[in-house]
Symmetry: C2
Subunit: 291 residues, 2 copies
Amino acid sequence: MDFKACYNNYINTVNTALIVNMPPRDAYPSRIHEAMHYSLFAGGKRLRPVLCLASFELFDSMTAKVLPVACALELIHTYSLIHDDLPCMDDDDFRRGMPTCHKKFGEAIAVLAGDALLTEAFAMASSIGNTGYSATIISMLAAASGSTGLIGGQVMDLLSEDKPIDVELLEYIHRHKTGKLISVSVESGAVCAGADSTALSALTKYGEALGLAFQISDDILDVIGDAEKLGKNVGQDAKLNKATYPSLYGLEESKKKLHETVEQALISLQGFGKKSGFLCELARYVAYRDR
Amino acid sequence: MDFKACYNNYINTVNTALIVNMPPRDAYPSRIHEAMHYSLFAGGKRLRPVLCLASFELFDSMTAKVLPVACALELIHTYSLIHDDLPCMDDDDFRRGMPTCHKKFGEAIAVLAGDALLTEAFAMASSIGNTGYSATIISMLAAASGSTGLIGGQVMDLLSEDKPIDVELLEYIHRHKTGKLISVSVESGAVCAGADSTALSALTKYGEALGLAFQISDDILDVIGDAEKLGKNVGQDAKLNKATYPSLYGLEESKKKLHETVEQALISLQGFGKKSGFLCELARYVAYRDR
């Protein structure tokens, strides 16, 4: 199967599992479930669950075992987008070409829909049952998403708006705001499959490089991307005076850095041989996407 | 030991565990950790963790085993208060006699502090380790707090502001907004201690009655309570046109209902004999408190 077909297969698996295991759209109180479904099924790339499934499949083919964790990652990602878009945060009106959750449902419901998706993530993850690694997985997800993970990155991003920031702070923000959840996606798949520490450490390196590549690529797309393809306005970072790779390093140097980061990701996978073909392609896809 | 001394003992145990296990106040980024500590150590009654510990002690004396779960319950409770107080929700300026989190730290940090406390709750709960009941406990906490639990109650509370509501809806709101987390506090303690299904079902009944008693008492205090003791304005429910037990049943009938509910709670504990003395006192304390 080629890369695109394989990626689409993963997406279908994740979407089916989400639909089956989430409280339905019309569950009481329906207003909150409509808002949760609206943001969750807005056509995301499902990058985090796909990473988790593909990492798991390096070691084990019984994906049903890891699927709840893959879904939990997407729920955490979606909650973080809803809250980031709020008027008191980035104040965005559009996301993936559609009105943001608070534009559609109002601010109160958007806050609560985010809260509910975050809570549902842990409900979903705990549905793997009382295995020998349940608490480990929950703890990894919470650490990656908490005040010293994703939320920490968002805090520093907010606090440094309209201020000159250095490379160190920029990297802290990116490593935390997007990097941690991407890394833990790869790691949690491997932990569910019982990977040994050597394999796990290689995959951690892959996940970190991929997270960085994702962010550099995001920054570059905000400069040279196509608003229609991206489903959001471009040039927003410059408008908000946000530090980005292009603003600190220049566009060409950022592209070079992106290329080196992809190479690092690929090198980390060498020990897995042919089996890691999909993850290699995925690194290139994340780095050189146009949306 | 008398009831007050015993309650204070539990509070000290919980506060010590929270201080030891939370990211410290000055952890980077310090702004978010200051906000989390500000709301968490604002002098709450620690009712939920105390219920969890006392329920556990009906069966087992090694409280260290259940302490992470007790702390998680307080983190969830604190997050829900911070988000409930936001301008887009109840828009409250004071909580426990102090400025609310968003008044002190701004709205963005308050949203993120709530998110971080919720996430930390699951990190904390997962620190019980990969036991035979870890996933069960996480799943119980998430169900009680999610879109068909606590959040569901908050949604219906918001959607019914300024509208006439019936007894059924009032009870849905209370059973979910406060009842579910109080019930699960009692239940999770018992599950950690390996209680059998008969004991568990008796404690569920106790938890449900206690949650209801707590809410009726809260509604009554908003009519006849002392603002200074409560640390918040009274008469808020009437001002916001909120349905409450007194507004639907009248004050005297509400007091009668409260009394009956306490009786139900006590009856549920009969099978535990003397050991349940503290939980009996706690039901009376919750119902007839002045703050």
